[in-house]
């Protein structure tokens, strides 16, 4: 099947077509799963076609114009994220109990599990919000266990939050311009001293442009001057993702990005994720909704009672006895 009609159907007829073009040009292999989150069932056979070596550098310059900084990609062969024997205890409660998994470069990996399976705690341990009781987290081959959240973010691993945490009293544009790393004007001296401020202003001008382009990509540019606190729930989710991308990450952890989002916006969000993945970003997606995971992720990790129960393609997971048991009563 040709993916072109599918994409224009799902892609809200907006002029972010450059990205669509680019992704078409890039990976025909990806086209099936990138096609339509709207098409339930069609993507069942998806993941198998997708090799681990989804090289970012195959993108053409049209994507670069979309103002997204394309990840340089990890050293070949190293999975961007590897979690080994992760344990997290809160007092007597063991929330994560020896979870181990890997996320492949350039993939969209789903992390599912019933309530209390330890998904969010795993996320928090990876991103430094919690310090793991035991176990190791490697990002691009480097041990990042126990680093502070800001240190992990600077390495190119950023996250969004389950409940959108917009900076309410800042405008949408300011929310985005906050994110880029290592801005000159983050030094108080540079921001104030007359001779040095010139460089800051110059950088800010470029940043403003990039922020506008990112807003256009997510189709929230009409909200640029609103206080982020005035946005709807779904718009906040878009803002969160846009903000995460402005940090110029290698990998993005999405913590239930679709919770409380209406179906139209959900499609838009998933479209963006697929576009970005085609550009070489790696995504790890925690989601409650099994259909979303099955239809969009080529690899699925199932957590249960704090450890990894099963790993595989959507089909493998769907037919896995243990998973069915864990989700007893749930419609897979």
């Amino acid at each position: 099947m040709s993916d072109a009609p599918d994409r224009s159907d799902s892609g809200d007829a907006n002029d972010a077509t450059d990205v669509d073009d680019a992704s078409e040009a890039v990976d025909v292999a990806d086209a099936n799963d990138a096609a339509g989150p709207g098409e339930l069932g069609a993507a069942e056979t998806v993941a198998a076609t997708d090799g681990p070596g989804d090289e970012p550098e195959s993108n053409d310059s049209a994507v670069e114009e979309a103002a997204k900084h394309i990840p340089s990609g990890p050293p070949s062969g190293t999975p961007p994220l590897r979690v080994e024997g992760l344990v997290k205890r809160f007092g007597g409660v063991t929330a994560v109990d020896g979870a181990s998994f890997e996320v492949e470069s350039g993939s969209l990996t789903g992390l599912i599990g019933p309530n209390g399976a330890g998904k969010s705690t795993t996320f928090n341990c990876i991103t430094g919000v919690h310090e793991p009781t035991a176990g190791k987290v490697y990002f691009e081959g480097e041990d990042i266990t126990g680093l502070k959240p800001y240190q992990i973010a600077r390495k190119g691993l950023v996250r969004t939050f389950q409940i959108a945490r917009e900076l309410a009293e800042m405008t949408v544009l300011e929310n985005l311009m906050l994110a880029p790393q290592g801005q000159l004007g983050e030094s108080a001296i540079r921001a104030v001293t007359p001779g040095l401020r010139g460089g800051v202003v110059e950088e800010e001008t470029a940043l403003r442009e990039r922020a506008w382009e990112t807003l256009e990509f997510f189709e929230i540019d009409h909200l640029a001057h609103e206080h982020a606190g005035n946005l709807s729930g779904g718009q906040r989710k878009l803002l969160e993702m846009a903000r995460a991308l402005m940090t110029d990450p290698e990998m993005v952890l999405l913590d239930e990005p679709l919770a409380g989002v209406n179906p139209t916006l959900e499609e838009k969000l998933l479209d963006r994720v697929h576009d970005l993945r085609a550009d070489g970003y790696t995504f790890l997606l925690v989601e409650h909704d099994m259909d979303v995971i099955m239809n969009n992720c080529e690899r699925v990790i199932v957590m249960h009672q704090g450890s990894v129960l099963a790993e595989g393609t959507g089909d493998e997971i769907r037919n896995d006895e243990r998973v069915i048991e864990a989700y007893l009563g749930e419609d897979l």
Binding site: V129, P149, L167, E174, E209
Partner: protein
């Protein structure tokens, strides 16, 4: 601000062709003033001056100039301190309720460094030049800020408030202690003067007008000024004229404070500050070293509070710990920031001026004037005043006891503001946190296809 300069609203019509014409000429002036920050501040000052004139014009020009001088001085020093607090609390959300302590450290350090080693009375000092003293005062306040911030910022935000309040009281009580005074005299050769306080070094502004600060020997600058405005001319007393000279210095510092803080706010650093105020975890997750930024902000803010303390109390002749540096001072500064609208530098300046003139000094002056107009006996107690059922008697009682009643008034105003306009005068404005104009949309992005 040209419009706002005209004290009489009806004089200047809506000359600027705005799209929707305001209802009246006064509204036009208010509109123009709102658009320009300087206009807003100058307009407020002029309104306060008009009220002051109304209150004292019967006593002659000297009284008018004197009252204006007092109000302006208080307005400016509150504005300076409010700006420093706004950086910490308004921008970054750091709840520092030890403002008084940091101001005390600033002014006391300055005094100890600058005072003569062998003074005629009071504790000895190090005898260094005034600029050294000012820098030392700011440095000491900054150092104390860092000492307070380092442990407190590791804890939850509220603990910073407790730590700073405690610290400010420790500072005050230490300065009051004669044991601490003696200890300092023995170790560094400069004392605090304990509970008696210490005299402040001569104000250099006074020496601009008078040779060696001696009354009766005007300098080349003082002579013409005294000639025109003083006894030879308008009849304004020399201390008031020198006071106005000092106000010019304060105004220069205020402008400098304001510009520095505006630049700091309108930068990526400012964005990070605001982000920390809004949601620390988000700032952290976006790669910002939250603790480092907080410490920087705290240290900068405390240094500015130290400087504000020097400019304020250093010009008052004598400082002593207890009446001046009680926690009450901190809360006054908080009220100024709240009135102006936390998070806005212009709001803080405005809040400082409005608080000092309208809430702090104004009621006392109005009360005194009103009492002078009433021909009635003052009843001995509030109960008697109430029982008399005579409004004139009650008013006589109220105006005679204006100092305590002023706090009731202050409380009512605060309740009103929190209820009706919690964001303060200017708190609803969007203070851009970027070094460039964000409303300007680059055209390049849209042509991209």
């Amino acid at each position: 601000m040209s419009d706002a300069n005209a004290p009489d609203g009806s004089a200047s019509g809506p000359s600027d062709g705005t799209s929707d014409p305001p209802e009246s000429a006064t509204a036009a002036v208010v509109e123009a003033a709102r658009e320009s920050d300087l206009g807003l501040v100058v307009g407020t000052l002029l309104a306060i001056y008009a009220a002051a004139t109304l209150l004292t014009f019967t006593d002659g020009l000297n009284s008018v100039a004197g009252l204006m001088e007092t109000l302006t001085f208080l307005g400016l020093v509150y504005a300076l301190t409010a700006l420093a607090l706004n950086l910490q609390w308004g921008y970054t959300g750091l709840f520092n309720i030890g403002v008084a302590g940091f101001m005390a450290v600033g002014v006391y350090t300055m005094g100890m460094v600058v005072r003569s080693p062998d003074p005629a009375f009071g504790p000895p000092g190090l005898g260094l030049p005034l600029p050294v003293g000012i820098v030392a005062g700011m440095g000491m306040a900054a150092l104390l800020g860092a000492v307070a911030a380092l442990p407190a910022l590791r804890l939850k935000a509220d603990y910073l408030a407790i730590v700073t309040l405690g610290l400010s009281e420790i500072v005050r009580l230490s300065l009051q202690s004669s044991a601490f005074d003696n200890f300092l005299r023995d170790t560094i050769g400069a004392g605090t003067g304990g509970g008696r306080g210490m005299g402040m070094p001569d104000n250099p502004v006074r020496e601009l007008f008078l040779v060696d600060g001696q009354a009766g020997t005007p300098t080349a600058l003082g002579d013409p000024v005294f000639g025109v405005f003083g006894n030879g001319g308008l009849g304004i007393s020399h201390p008031i004229l020198i006071g106005w000279g000092y106000i010019a210095v304060l105004a220069a510092f205020l402008v400098a404070f304001y510009l520095i803080l505006e630049r700091l706010g309108r930068s990526p650093f400012g964005r990070t500050m605001k982000a920390i105020r809004e949601d620390e975890l988000v700032a952290n997750s976006l790669g910002k070293d939250v603790n480092l930024v907080k410490i920087k902000v705290f240290v900068i803010g405390c240094a500015l509070m130290g400087l504000a303390g020097i400019l304020w109390f250093g010009s008052q002749g004598n400082v002593s710990p207890t009446p001046q540096f009680r926690p009450l001072l901190t809360f006054y500064v908080f009220i100024a920031v709240i009135i102006g609208g936390s998070g806005s530098n212009t709001g803080s300046v405005l809040g400082g001026i409005v608080f000092a003139a309208v809430l702090f000094e104004g009621p006392r002056r109005v009360g005194g004037t009103v009492r002078g107009l009433i021909d009635a006996e003052t009843p001995p107690s509030f109960g008697d005043a109430l029982v008399s059922l005579d409004p004139v008697t009650f008013l006589a009682y109220a105006t005679d006891n204006i100092a305590p009643l002023q706090f009731v008034f202050l409380g009512l105003v605060l309740v009103f503001i929190i209820h009706r306009r919690p964001e303060g005068i200017l708190g609803d404005r969007i203070e851009t946190a970027a070094a460039v104009d964000l409303s300007e949309r680059p055209t390049g992005g849209e042509s991209d296809e």
